[in-house]
């Protein structure tokens, strides 16, 4: 289904915490991970415009021009433009790209930019080989976090244009001749005139100015920040899930999307809501059955009522383990509370006690543009 954006009705519908779709237009309601504070709906692969609203500033007095062979240190500031909500921005990595040079990481001694605050850093550029305009591109990996411990990271890019003047300093030698009657007895006294060619205009500092930041989706995938770096595949938050091999009552017989919480709940509990016996129904019930089809209570009880959630974080399908028993992806044990990405073809097992009896295998179905449209969750063994 093509994404058409939110309408007024969607924002009204989102105020109902149980609503996963807009009742008026059927648009999936994807809430920001901090929806309780920012009340923002987000698009399938974009950040929350309120919680992650950075601004890159060139500080007043920064010199943006130099000569060939010189180096420049440019003072910059990262500002968290969101001053209303207590949502900090985490600057996780800062890379610098200069023409003709390798990408280098700018070391930072800080990470958090509180709401409405600014943090300063220096970026060195040069030495410049040729005159003209030199471009220094900055790649900022910034993240926002939720109270549950989820983190969504994005890469933003900003460019600094520096003016490089030709040969800023040359040497002129002035010779004073003291030659006498005998030339060979004469001498030369050399006085060096040092010429500083940096013109006043070039050295003039500029005022404080804002550098426009652009989202760099390609770099996000290439750097492994979002999506699956090896294949370049990305999972949007609107991805659909189809279930195969489940008993009729244990999984929906139609394609579903992430629920109102932004997650698919999986555990031993049933799917029917009962205010007293099952107030928090699961989206998928993970239960064991015998050969005759009868419920294997003993094995089923080894699965927690709400064992794990499937969520989409950083354009990746992830498992969020809620059970104290942990979970297993393929052969890798996950501790309670951990959030791990799931790759195409991975097998998720609730715990070691039910290995071989209850499991889920994920298969991604992506379109030619590398966007996963559907994930088939097959019970293994069925």
């Amino acid at each position: 289904m093509e994404w058409t954006g939110y309408k007024t009705c969607c924002h009204r519908a989102a105020l109902d915490p149980a609503a996963a779709f807009c009742g008026d237009c059927a648009t999936p309601l994807i809430r920001c991970m901090n929806f309780n504070e920012c009340l923002q709906l987000v698009e399938p692969m974009k950040p929350c415009p309120v919680c992650l609203n950075p601004e890159l500033i060139v500080e007043e007095g920064a010199v943006s021009s130099g000569g060939v062979g010189t180096r420049l240190a440019i003072p910059l500031k990262l500002r968290n433009h969101n001053a209303e909500l207590p949502r900090p921005i985490f600057l996780k990595r800062l890379l610098k790209r200069e023409s003709g040079q390798d990408e280098t990481e700018v070391p930072l001694d800080w990470q958090v930019v509180e709401a409405g605050a600014e943090r300063s850093f220096l970026v060195e550029a040069g030495p410049f080989d040729t005159d003209g305009v030199a471009r220094v591109e900055l790649l900022l990996t910034m993240a926002m976090r939720s109270k549950e411990g989820f983190e969504e990271a994005y890469v933003f890019g900003g460019s600094l244009l520096l003016t490089v003047a030709r040969d800023s300093a040359q040497q002129v030698v002035q010779n004073i001749d003291f030659s006498g009657a005998h030339f060979e007895t004469g001498g030369l006294v050399k006085t060096d005139l040092r010429v500083d060619d940096a013109s006043p205009q070039q050295a003039q500092p500029a005022g404080r100015r804002v550098l426009p930041l652009e989202r760099l989706e390609v770099s996000e995938v290439k750097e492994g920040i979002r999506g699956y770096g090896q294949t370049g595949v990305r999972v949007p938050r609107t991805v659909q899930f189809a279930f195969h091999g489940f008993p009729e009552k244990d999984a929906p017989n139609f394609e579903v999307r992430l629920g109102a919480r932004g997650a698919l709940a999986m555990g031993r509990s049933g799917r029917e809501r009962d205010p007293e016996r099952n107030p928090s129904p699961m989206d998928v019930s993970l239960r064991a059955y015998g050969a005759s089809g009868a419920l294997d209570l003993e094995t089923s009880n080894r699965v927690s009522r709400h064992h794990f959630d499937l969520v989409v974080l950083n354009d990746r399908l992830c498992v969020h383990v809620r059970s104290a028993k942990g979970a297993i992806i393929n052969d890798r044990q996950l501790a309670a509370g951990s959030v791990e990405p799931i790759n195409d073809g991975d097998l998720i097992t609730p715990s070691g006690d039910v290995a071989g009896r209850i499991g889920l295998r994920a298969h991604f179905r992506s379109n030619p543009h590398g966007v996963v449209e559907r994930i088939d969750l097959r019970r293994d063994p069925s």
Binding site: A13, D16, A18, A19, A20, F21, C22, G23, D24, C25, A26, P28, Q170, Q171, V172, V173, Q174, N175, D177, S179, A181, H182, F183, E184, V195, D197, S199, P252, F254, V256, R257, G259, A260
Partner: protein, 516 residues
């Protein structure tokens, strides 16, 4: 033995060949080259000696014998000036604002004394090389590459006095000159560029000169104006008095003040007095002119009169007419006064009459108003009473009609009509309806059969059937005879069985369309 000192033919020459073969004779000659010159002896095409200065012996009898025995040698001597020399030339460039500028480049060059052989790089065979040629060699290389490139970035007015530009030009030219002359054994010691005045600068200078001249003229004008103002501002005061001049002269300051107060003494503003005098003179002139005019007119009129008698008779007639006119005027004035008094009296009487009429009219209006109010009160009471009577009559009629209707109603209908008034009655009715609802379908089928069989008249059967249907539907809808299983405010999604608000078009849980 005599020694001949060899120097360059001219100071403008940088290097030249000296034909030693020309210096021959019986006696051997010694040639000396000064230390400020480079001497290069070339024997049979090979450089035999290079140094600062030289002392060479050529010719002579023994040399001739030696040449006769061993053969002759071709000898050439190249001498070059080792002293630094200036090479100057003009250049032209265009500034950023497209103003052509001319400059003079001066290079301080010197044949490298450490490698004088490099002179061969530019020494022409059998020709002299002048110092000026050196700049000509360099000029093509610096004009476009250096001067034009640098000057093109500067405006014409900013070119002069810009140390940065000068430094850049000098450094560039030096780099270029070293590149060109380095291989020729020439050292580049210094470079400088002097710019001539360009059009913009000349225009600016001209403009400044004009401005200065204008400022000077303005200053002069200002001085004159001030002088005039000062002269005008100075008021010459004179003392005018009828008193004894000597006494005034001897008076003290306080006495003079006293005299001023008593107006024995007064200041005379010379300027004002002069102006006043001028005005008086002008007025006097005008008065004199008028006098002359009047006199001329009078003379003319007098001339026109025939004689004094005619004048007297005319004057008498005029006087008579004047008197008659005065009498008529007085009579007319008296008549007018009388008429005015009469008019005032009449107006007063008329006004009094109208006032009386107005008062009477007002009294009539008040009386009519009171009568109307009394009438309205009376009518209002009547109509209220009539409405009250009507309302009571209607209530009685309604009650009567209701009682008549109830008399014809069945017990069920009576219960149904009372259900909305009492919850107990509604509960009773609900239980009754529940019990009867199960057999409703059977009853309906039976009634249909009755209609079809025509046991009674068709119209009567239809009436009963419709009555029955309405009764069942009314009981179910109005009194809750059948229990409502769904909340009418919600609708259940058929796909995921989630309750949704009835206003939703799509399920809020799974997005499926809802049946509305």
């Amino acid at each position: 033995m005599a020694s001949q000192n060899i120097t360059l033919s001219d100071d403008a020459i940088l290097c030249e060949y000296v034909q030693i073969d020309d210096i021959k004779g019986f006696m051997q000659q010694r040639l000396g080259v000064g230390p400020d010159l480079m001497a290069m002896l070339i024997r049979d095409g090979e450089v035999a000696h290079v140094g600062h200065g030289a002392h060479i012996a050529v010719g002579g009898f023994w040399r001739s014998i030696k040449d006769a025995i061993a053969g002759t040698h071709a000898l050439r001597l190249l001498i070059a000036d080792l002293k630094p020399f200036p090479a100057t030339g003009g250049v032209i460039a265009v500034t950023r604002d497209n103003v052509p500028v001319q400059g003079e480049v001066t290079l301080e060059l010197q044949v490298n004394p450490d490698s004088p052989a490099g002179v061969l790089g530019f020494a022409s065979d059998n020709e002299i090389v002048t110092k000026d040629e050196m700049f000509e060699r360099l000029a093509p290389h610096i004009n476009e590459r250096v001067l034009q490139a640098v000057v093109k970035k500067v405006d014409a007015l900013d070119l002069r006095g810009d140390v940065d530009v000068q430094n850049k030009v000098q450094a560039e030219i030096m780099t270029e000159a070293e590149r060109i002359f380095g291989d020729m054994g020439l050292l580049v010691r210094a470079v400088s560029v002097t710019w001539g005045f360009n059009e913009e600068e000349l225009a600016e200078i001209q403009k400044r000169a004009e401005v200065r001249e204008q400022e000077m003229l303005d200053a002069k004008m200002e001085n004159f104006s001030r002088e005039i103002a000062r002269t005008a501002a100075v008021t010459e005061l004179r003392l005018k008095t009828d008193a004894n001049t000597e006494a005034v002269k001897a008076a003290s300051e306080s006495e003079l003040r006293q005299m001023l107060l008593t107006q024995e003494l007064e200041f005379v503003d010379a300027k004002e007095t002069g102006a006043r005098a001028a005005r008086m003179k002008a007025l006097q002139g005008e008065i004199d002119e008028m006098k002359v005019e009047q006199q001329a007119k009078f003379d003319l009129a007098l001339g026109e009169a025939k004689n004094d008698l005619d004048l007297k008779r005319v004057q008498t007639e005029i006087d008579k007419l004047n008197r008659e006119t005065d009498r008529l005027n007085r009579e007319q004035e008296a008549a007018l006064n009388k008429l005015e008094e009469l008019t005032k009296l009449e107006v007063a009487a008329k006004a009094r009459e109208e006032q009386m009429a107005s008062l009477k009219g007002l009294q009539d209006i008040d009386i009519e108003g009171e009568a109307a109010r009394a009438d309205i009160v009376s009518k209002s009471a009547d109509s209220e009473h009539a409405r009250d009577v009507d309302r009571r009559r209607q209530e009685d009629d309604t009650k009567l009609a209701e009682l008549r209707l109830q008399r014809e109603m069945t017990p069920d209908q009576l219960l149904a009509t009372q259900a909305g008034l009492s919850p107990e009655v509604a509960a009773v009715f609900a239980e009754r309806a529940k019990a009867e609802n199960q057999s409703a379908a059977e009853k309906m089928a039976l009634m249909e059969r009755l209609v079809e069989s025509g046991a009674k008249t068709g119209e009567q059967a239809k009436y009963f059937f419709e009555q029955f249907k309405e009764g069942v539907i009314g009981v179910a809808a109005g009194a809750g005879g059948a229990e409502a299983k769904e909340d009418p405010a919600t609708v259940i999604c058929e796909r995921c069985r989630t309750e949704n608000p009835a206003s939703s078009s799509f399920c809020q849980s799974c997005g499926a369309p809802l049946r509305t």
